[in-house]
Symmetry: C2
Subunit: 214 residues, 2 copies
DNA sequence: GAATTAATTGAACGTTTGTTTTATTATGGC
DNA sequence: GCCATAATAAAACAAACGTTCAATTAATTC
């Protein structure tokens, strides 16, 4: 009927966040009811409104923090040097690692954009654009330096991001491939796709790799 | 209060289908109400149930016909010859053309799978798997023939499909690039990604293209 | 032109939705 | 041990949901 023994605002809010990410990722934002979310947390629906004023605000919070996390992860992973190949390599590694680790939140951030109000949508898209801009800059620098061979920077950036983010659709930890194997293969596919020169040689050629699997 | 002048079952059903594809693509299946759909068609909600017994059956019909259409389009576009490069090229061309032409239906088929009942989901996934299997076969044949250089066939197939299907996320007809330009660029990115040998030469090398845009 | 069938309306059904309000209890500081 | 406040329950709200039903009219058949 009222406050329960051992209740703690901080813990409850964290539990709500986690449960919401999982539920929205699996069923979709519209399909998840506040009562269902509350039940998952082990609380009454009304209690949720102590932490999030509306359902949409909850969705927005999840998305904003995911995008912020992605940006911060890249800031930490970004190499100091100017070599476009190293920078691209770091970008791919970071992107795949982050998206596999935060699979559910990524799903939410990519699939539920249409449930945001226009101004909140704009905020999230702005963050996404800033992140993608980093990749375009790397591709442009590499093309100008002659280490990449790229027809259209914007189009290549989109293709790479779709390809890398797509990992979360089929990748399941503990199945056929490890994160390291997937990352290695995606890295070599990326380097070929942008026509990267090898580090040592002078001629433009593809990265050659042993045929590991068929 | 009853049948309206000029009403025709065939026309109404088609109108419902089209309006549903557009509405679901823009707002999502759960967010679209039957009343809203009916209003878009210019009819009362009850009239919809003459053509589709439930909301989910409507969704399933849209998805099934989209997947059937994709399969049929590929059967028509598939080349007779055995050359893996030609077959891959045809696959890419067909995939991009079909997905750009049926952008909304593709969106629905990719995003609303979780709203299907388990057995309907299985049916759709079976169709999708069959279509993707064709790509894997091309890649495997190419790798065995030595015209492609591929680390992992399954992983490469998924990467390519994610990359190509991603076109519908950002492509808008009449903007910077034409369908032909986009297709050409994606074709060359694909050929590099699989390490395709050039048609004429003997050496393994990347397709070289003039730098059209930055 | 009567009989039949096809197409649709309008009203209603019971549920469920997001959210608000009010009351009640546990906790932490003094 | 009291007091303020943080955390929750329980009940209620109006609105919207998918769907059903009976009535009604247009088109078709003969």
């Amino acid at each position: 009927m009222a406050r329960t023994t051992g209740s703690d605002g901080g813990r409850t809010e964290a539990a709500v966040r986690e449960a919401a990410v999982s539920l929205i990722a699996r069923q979709g934002y519209e399909a998840m009811s506040m009562r269902q979310l509350a039940a998952e947390v082990g609380v009454q629906a009304a209690a949720l409104y102590r932490y999030f004023p509306t359902k949409e605000e909850l969705l927005f919070t999840i998305m904003r923090e995911h995008m912020e996390g992605l940006g911060e992860a890249w800031q930490k992973a970004r190499p100091a040097g100017p070599d476009p190949r190293e920078r691209l390599s770091a970008y791919v590694r970071n992107h795949i690692a982050f998206h596999i680790k935060r699979r559910h939140a990524t799903h939410v951030s990519n699939m539920e954009l249409r449930s945001l109000s226009p101004d909140r949508l704009t905020q999230i898209l702005r963050m996404r654009t800033a992140y993608e801009k980093e990749l375009r800059a790397i591709l442009r620098d590499g093309a100008e330096a002659g280490v990449f061979s790229i027809e259209d920077t914007g189009l290549t950036a989109m293709a790479l991001i779709q390809m890398m983010t797509g990992v979360i659709v089929w990748f399941r930890p503990g199945e056929r491939l490890s994160v390291a194997e997937v990352t290695a293969t995606y890295l070599s596919m990326t380097m070929r796709l942008v026509g990267a020169t090898t580090h040592t040689g002078e001629e433009r050629d593809v990265h050659e790799h042993a045929q590991l699997r068929s």
